[in-house]
Amino acid sequence: MGQLTPLRRRATLTLVMLLAGLAAAPAPAAASELVVIVSARSPVTALRPDQVAAIFLGQSVRFPDGAEAIPLDQRLGAPLRDEFYLRVTSKTPPLLKAWWSKMVFTGRGQPPAEVADSAAVRRRVADNPGLVGYIDRSALDASVRPVLVVQ
């Protein structure tokens, strides 16, 4: 075996980094891991999918412990958002739009506020123990607590 030339070594290194990067990078939307989060300062430790669905559909305004719960959405059209609602509420974007139209046009509520991406959701949720959001698992850090891994 001959020694690797610097050029070949660099190419190999790049390939290894690329492969490692692929493994660590968020997988395509269909396979990404979604977690529902609350602030690390919140006493809430776990939520069931139906509890999360009720909070995000405006049917429930409290965590199971009685504290007020305010949902925070990812921006409209984000693949993560569509996946979250499909898995947790069985609603496609048009069905979700119809749901919120029903709430808005019967005076029962307004849809959750939206922020740009998982990092923005995490920042907002970390700052406010009343908020609940959903993010890509890769965006988790110690400032927030996962309370449900969305299957």
Partner: protein, 418 residues
């Protein structure tokens, strides 16, 4: 015509206002208690064709005309535009204003204030509203004007078309509560309702009392409602004046049929099962009016399947009278011929009114196509069969009309929300 034109102009202005203001809509982050204003709206552009050329097919008794006799293709059956302003002052106080422009009994599209109320959120579960609010009725009545929400072109006319009063002025309370896994919303309303008929005629309902409860359990939603009130409407005043003048027997007919301080009630129970890929919906209702509006029972069932952006659906819907739809009227025996003729005309007039109590069965097939996340295109075919001599939900009968004929109705509609 002038009215109609002005109406369209107003509609256009409303749309411009909504689109202009729309840039700021929903920009505010909720939950922080800062004042915010949200602008939203809804609309339907639809055309309807009816095979019956001697009467108009309408979706609501509050329309001056529809498809069939007035126009073979009518844009007035379903077309409407709604605009809603939601203002949140802080976490507890908010206000809503909703304007709706659609064909009315005056053949105009003059916008009507559908809702105008202030809401006080006592707790996260309990809200009080004061002002004009949606009346608690039926499964889909509160949002019957927002076509985008439901799968059909319009809610089944046999249940929803006959008592098209949608809002009332008063106070209501909404309470959310949980019973194990069942999430409930209960509503109670007290107030009055005032509905413009053909200008300057109005229909009033005093002491309107409404109760409704919606229970959601997973994909299942069940709603029961009861609405009552004391109604007065100057419909066929001249006929009833003449009956009163004819003597005690005529006065008794007036008491039986005039809409004069009559206790009316509407009760309904409906269920919707919607796990996402399909839905099944059914609702039964009963109305009592102690007047020429009659007493009816109606029921419908509807099912649909969602394949991507397409939702084909089928609906069966039925309404029948459970009260009088005809009257022997005043006895003619022993009257002088000239008087007998006048009395017979009164009897005929009364029976014509009673004949408007709808009795009809419809089978509908349709397809909803979700074009975008806020726009849907719908095609629907209705086969409506008025029965028992009734002319069903048809109006504007012309002399050539023959009762009992089946009507074929085709509808195309685009529904949107913004």
């Amino acid at each position: 015509m002038q009215h109609s034109f002005r109406g369209h102009h107003l509609t256009a202005s409303l749309l411009a206002l909504a689109l202009g203001a729309g840039f700021d809509a929903h920009a505010e982050v909720a939950g922080d208690g800062a004042p915010s204003v949200a602008v939203s709206g809804f609309g339907t552009v639809g055309v309807v064709h009816s095979s019956e050329e001697h009467a108009d097919y309408i979706a609501s008794a509050l329309k001056s005309n529809g498809a069939g006799a007035t126009r073979r293709w009518s844009g007035d059956v379903d077309t409407r535009l709604g605009l809603q302003l939601d203002a949140a002052l802080d976490k507890r106080w908010s206000a809503v204003l909703q304007l709706v422009s659609e064909m009315d009994l005056d053949n105009s599209y003059r916008p009507r204030v559908e809702w105008a109320n202030i809401k006080y959120q006592v707790t996260p579960e309990l809200a009080l509203r004061l002002g004009r609010v949606a009346l608690p009725m039926f499964l889909t009545a509160e949002y019957r004007k927002v076509g985008y929400i439901y799968p059909w072109v319009r809610p089944p006319v046999e249940s929803y078309g006959t008592l098209p009063f949608t809002s009332g002025d008063g106070i209501d309370a909404n309470l959310r509560w949980n019973l194990g896994p069942v999430r409930n919303t209960s509503q109670i309303f007290f107030g009055h309702a005032d509905q413009k008929l053909v200008d300057p005629m109005r229909g009033y309902a005093r002491r309107v009392f409404g109760l409704a409860n919606t229970s959601d359990w997973g994909a299942l939603s069940v709603r029961a409602s009861l609405l009552g009130g004391e109604a007065t409407a100057a419909i066929a005043d001249q006929l009833f004046d003449a009956l009163d003048a004819s003597g005690p027997a005529g006065a008794a007919l007036t008491r039986a049929y005039a809409i004069d301080h009559k206790q009316i009630s509407v009760a309904s129970i409906g269920a919707n099962y919607d796990p996402g890929t399909w839905f099944l919906m059914a609702e039964a209702s009963r109305t009592r009016t102690h007047s020429l509006l009659g007493a009816t029972r109606s029921i419908y069932a509807s099912a649909g399947w969602r394949h991507g952006t397409l939702t084909p659906y089928l609906t069966w819907s039925h309404v029948r009278a459970v009260g009088a739809t005809s009257s022997p009227g005043l006895p003619l025996a022993g009257l002088p011929p000239q008087v007998a003729g006048q009395v017979a005309a009164l009897n005929a007039g009364l029976n014509q009114l009673l004949g408007t109590v709808p009795q009809q069965t419809s089978v509908s097939a349709g397809l909803r196509w979700d074009l975008r996340a806020n726009t849907a295109l719908k095609l629907q075919y209705d086969r409506a069969s008025p029965h028992a001599g009734s002319h069903g939900t048809l109006t504007n009968l012309t002399p050539g009309f023959q009762p009992g004929r089946t009507i074929h109705v085709a509808s195309v509609a685009i529904d949107f929300v913004y």
